[in-house]
Subunit: 337 residues, 2 copies
Amino acid sequence: MVTMKDVAEHAGVSIATVSFVVNDTKPVTPATRARIEAAMVELGYRRNAVARALASRRTRILALVYPVFERPLNTSSVEFFTSAAAAASARGYHLVIWPVSNDGRELGELLGQRLVDGVLLMEVQLDDSRVQVLERSGTPFALIGRTREPDRYRYVDIDFEATVAGAVDHLAALGHQHLTLVLGSGVDHGDRDYGPFARTRAAFDALLPERTLTGRTIEVNQTEDATALADRIVASHPAATGILVLNDHTALRLVAGLRRTGRKVPGDISVMGLLAAAESGMVCDPPLTLMRAPGPELGRLGADALIRDLEKDEPLPPRLVPCAFEPGQSTAPRRSS
Amino acid sequence: MVTMKDVAEHAGVSIATVSFVVNDTKPVTPATRARIEAAMVELGYRRNAVARALASRRTRILALVYPVFERPLNTSSVEFFTSAAAAASARGYHLVIWPVSNDGRELGELLGQRLVDGVLLMEVQLDDSRVQVLERSGTPFALIGRTREPDRYRYVDIDFEATVAGAVDHLAALGHQHLTLVLGSGVDHGDRDYGPFARTRAAFDALLPERTLTGRTIEVNQTEDATALADRIVASHPAATGILVLNDHTALRLVAGLRRTGRKVPGDISVMGLLAAAESGMVCDPPLTLMRAPGPELGRLGADALIRDLEKDEPLPPRLVPCAFEPGQSTAPRRSS
């Protein structure tokens, strides 16, 4: 296997000059070029045209890496993607959704193809093997979410502390003292390590003693029937009159299930969505009170963080964006008993 | 500008042989290679490495082209994508969602980059400028949906006639004689030309006289408040006791709006979702009776149709897949008045 170094020595030029000729990246005098090409012929050096071409090439394609097989895209992720794609487009980049499993191997193969200039990584876990793969690849990337050591990487994320505080304080102001936090996706795909669940739970556990409220957390899966879901959530903490639900689909199923089992929302139990899409509130009856996931703002900030890196602009400090309170009719003052 | 033809003449070989050397596509004897490389040096022939590399290269990337800025990805599209990506992955291809506007220009730019081996086009319109762009590009493609002249292209689509018949016959069997068809997305982005709406409306208009039923069609937009939506739909055809709704989000809003305005579902009015996702039925109260969009099957068939083309396999005949009836509790016998 003849290398560029062999060609450079044979032609009496630097490796850089050989590389300029091989990759067509800088003009070289005709005489030098001829000497290098002759050395290449003599030594039998073969360009690997594809690899060389791609190594020096920018595609202006950015990949939003998302584990679609493990976690279906929901309304908030779609909002995020649409907004990030619009922000990228305004700066001349094209953002595509790249389905890659949580396992880092597949991501490594993708990066090896050199088809994308940069990566936005979604659904980040506290210990995420994909982040190491990205780091080793040298491909610029930004995280939507945080690992256990967030400050090592560029990221934007939701401000879970502020979001949980907004929801808890809304319910507390209505007189609710016993709360349940529902994490809506089970632990089937390593969700304990999934940043949004871990941070929401931690924020909830830290806040309740401060507010002298009591709370419990329950994890549920995405497929349980609405009635069974409602019964199980109520049974897990019968004193609770306020329920916070992380995940729109679960919140809607819970409200439907509570009604079917004869419990009034909000008369008996107040329900709030956390990190929910506004349109989920609209399809709920009663309209769901929620902390609205900042998909559009996160999308824009995430695309900016990545593109600043690609273009060697100064990085902006990491941003945490709180969910905004969106009033609905699924919460009401606690009924005095 | 020195061409391959000049090099071939100068070296006394065929253009094909020059191309083998330039593109590294076939082995050439060392002597011939040396003669060609010498001719290239003498004439100053410069490889355009990137263009050459990409022209001969297969990326095994397939693009699902979707106008995300004009039509948000909904649950059924996500199901479709996930299933198509899984089918592609099983055959060694990688399917990504490529957001491209309905305007064909942007698609042309994408195809010009030669980064994708093939395209699945979604949200097809009856007259779709993107189809012409695909045809001219020479890139293999398959349509999820049909243009006005379907048989010119490879496609898979929903069987709208069978789907509408399934829903209408279910309601007719329950005694409903006056029906309303709600098309859930307004005409703001040229939806009159959007295949699913046009074909559903045509199937509905053709079927009702055959069944001696009466029906009206109404178009609504995605943002109207649930209460106003319900009032407007009822007012458009006050005699209707059965309503078919194309689009999950609109169906859920309508059921919520009917209840808020004092109408019982299904006591007063039966509601059915058309081309709906099963999970939309679950979050509705009462659970929505629906014709389930065959996203997973269409995804698999769509990926197959495209990959058969890429691999020069015999094309399969175009497939129309009906929506399956999914029982719920939002339909009931018409109340005798």
